[in-house]
Every structure is written in C-alpha cells, then in structure tokens.
Amino acid sequence: FDLDSDNPIRIESKSARLDDKAGTATYTGNVRVTQGEARLEAQRIVLTRKEGELDSLDATGEPATYEQPETPDAPALYAEGNRIHYAAGEGLIVFERNALIRQAGDRFRGNRISYDLEKRVVTATSADDDDEDRVEMTIQPGKNRDNN
C-alpha cells in the first residue's frame, strides 16, 4: 500500500468498531483492504491511526493473504500468513506463522517473512523457539541471471 498515492485505501467488512480515543478501527468478518490492484484479505484487521493518518494495519486470518499485481518494475507477488502486519512508516509488510511468499516462480516459506515494499527485498527467518523450524527458499533459475 502506498500512503502517498492519490488512490484511497478501501476497507470492506461485515462489521467494525471505531474507538476514537484509542485511534483504532477494528474490522471483522471477510475483511478486504484494497488500494488500486493491491489487496489484503483477512478475518480481522485492526487499523491504527496517528494524527488522523493511517499508521499501521494488523491482519489475522487462517490465513490472511496479500496480493500485489505486476508493475513495470516488479513481478506480481502473493503472500500469506496467519498474521500480517503493515507498518506505514517503515514501508514493511511482515508475514508471521506459516508465512509464505511467491513471486515470479520464487518461493519463500518460514515462520516470519518480511517484505520491503520499496526495495522489494524478502527476509525470511525461522522461529527462535523451535530448532526444527526451517526457512525454505525455492529460487527459479532466471534466464537473465548471471551466467557463470
């Protein structure tokens, strides 16, 4: 999501609770957040505002999913996790618990994956408290990758 974009961020859901003092809006039931073609879907989303501006989005679902269409400078992206956290100020989306990201044939799986919206960099980490937990990465050999 791009807060500087002229495109508004749209949120649809079955019900919602607006808490003006806390500056939060909690959307529940088939929640869908869209901006242009980018889309976030979840069972529950808590939106936090600071000085009237969107500050963060916290989505939970079984899983919650995020899709971003192809753009001139980046391939389409699909990601999911039982929890998705978007921090406006940091331009970062973090997927946690059964996190998965697919982009242009590449696949990342782990307990926690963060995606930098600006640099388009994926960082995957396993769970600290589970030695068995692994990060899985499947990188498609790209045609114009370096040939040596």
């Binding site: 749209r10 859901s13 079955k14 019900s15 919602a16 808490d19 003006d20």
Partner: protein, 202 residues
C-alpha cells in the same frame, strides 16, 4: 312670557334627554353585540390553529430541555422552535430539534440536528428523524460528521443507536455502514453491517 319660554325650554330638555338616553342604550347594546360576536369565533379558531392538528396537551414555543449528570453538570440540552407535549406518555414532539450532548470526562460536544424529533421526558430518550446530523469535534481527531435518517439518543444509558444506513465523514476518511451503536462517553462506535470505508492520504 318668561315663564312660558322657560316651560318650553324644560319640556324641550326632557324630550332631548329621553332621546339621549335612548341613543345611549342603543349604542351600549350594539357594543355588547359586537364584542360577543368578535369574542366567540376568533378565540376558538386561533386556539385551534395555535394548538395544532395533533391536539397536544400543551405546546411550548422555543422550547429547551436540559438534563444534568450526577455531579450537577449539564449532560444534554435539546431545543426546538416548537415542542408539543402529550401528557399520557410524557412525550414531546419537536420541529427542527437541535441537541447538544457533552462527554462526561472530556466535555467534548456532540451536536445533533434533525427535521423532526420526539423526546420522552421520563426516559430521557430522544428519537430523531429525517436528515439527522451529528457533528463531533475533538482536539486529537478534528471534526467528524455522522449522517443518517433515524437515530435514537438514550441519554440515560449514554448511547446512540440506529438500524438505518449511516455515513461517517472526517478529514481523512469516509465510512458507510448499515446499523450502528455508539457509546457517547467512551467515544466508541460499533458499525453493525456492510461496512465500507475509504482512507485518504492528506
């Protein structure tokens, strides 16, 4: 000669006073009739018109109703250019009601307006109908406007609720929903179904 003249003058006077008395009586009679005629029809017609077709038990022009919290501070004020009171259920119907609700702690005001209203005095419950507007302003979040066609304001429970479609607008977002419940002092709104919100960057 003199006597004759005098007698003529006196009898002439007597004739004249009879005439004068007669005229006075006739005039008085005419006045009373006029009064009676003007009194009876004008009063009933004016009263009917003033009272209005719904035949309230009483009506108040430029009515204002205030209620206070347990600490004696103003908590709500409702005014209307015309309030019609019906004693059987302690109800007041109002034209163009304007209301003010004050939050308990922050004293932030909620301004209410509608085309029609009905206020139940004992229950401190106001039903607003048609073109209902609530304007609410806080230091932190600026002004918010809420629009709907029906709203119940329960000042005793300090809640507002409606089953009608609602639109909520503030400086950086617009939200639509159907059905809403609000807690005035906590400043919390629960939107009950079909929530559709837009957030704009400034």
């Amino acid at each position: 000669m003199m006597g004759h003249w005098l007698q003529a003058f006196i009898s002439d006077l007597q004739d004249r006073s009879l005439w004068l008395w007669g005229a006075a009586v006739l005039t008085a009679l005419a006045l009373v009739l006029l009064l009676l005629r003007s009194e009876q029809p004008v009063t009933s017609r004016d009263a009917e018109e003033l009272r209005g077709p719904d035949k309230p038990d009483g009506f108040v022009i430029n009515a204002t109703y205030r209620s206070f919290d347990s600490e004696g501070r103003l908590s709500a004020r409702i005014s209307s250019p015309r309030g019609e009171q019906f004693d059987d259920d302690k109800r007041v119907t109002m034209e163009s009601p304007r209301g003010l609700l004050l939050e308990k702690d922050s004293r932030a005001p909620w301004h209410l307006a509608a085309e029609r209203g009905e206020y139940y005095l004992n229950a401190e419950r106001l039903t607003l109908n048609s073109n209902v507007r609530i304007r609410h302003e806080t230091r932190e979040r600026g002004e918010a406007l809420l629009k709907t066609e029906r709203l119940v304001v329960d000042n005793r429970k300090r809640i507002v609720h409606t089953d009608a479609p609602v639109t909520i607008i503030n400086e950086s977002s617009l939200t639509r929903t159907t059905g809403m419940k609000g807690w005035i002092d906590e400043r919390v709104l629960e939107l009950e179904s079909q929530v559709d919100g837009y957030y704009y960057s400034r």
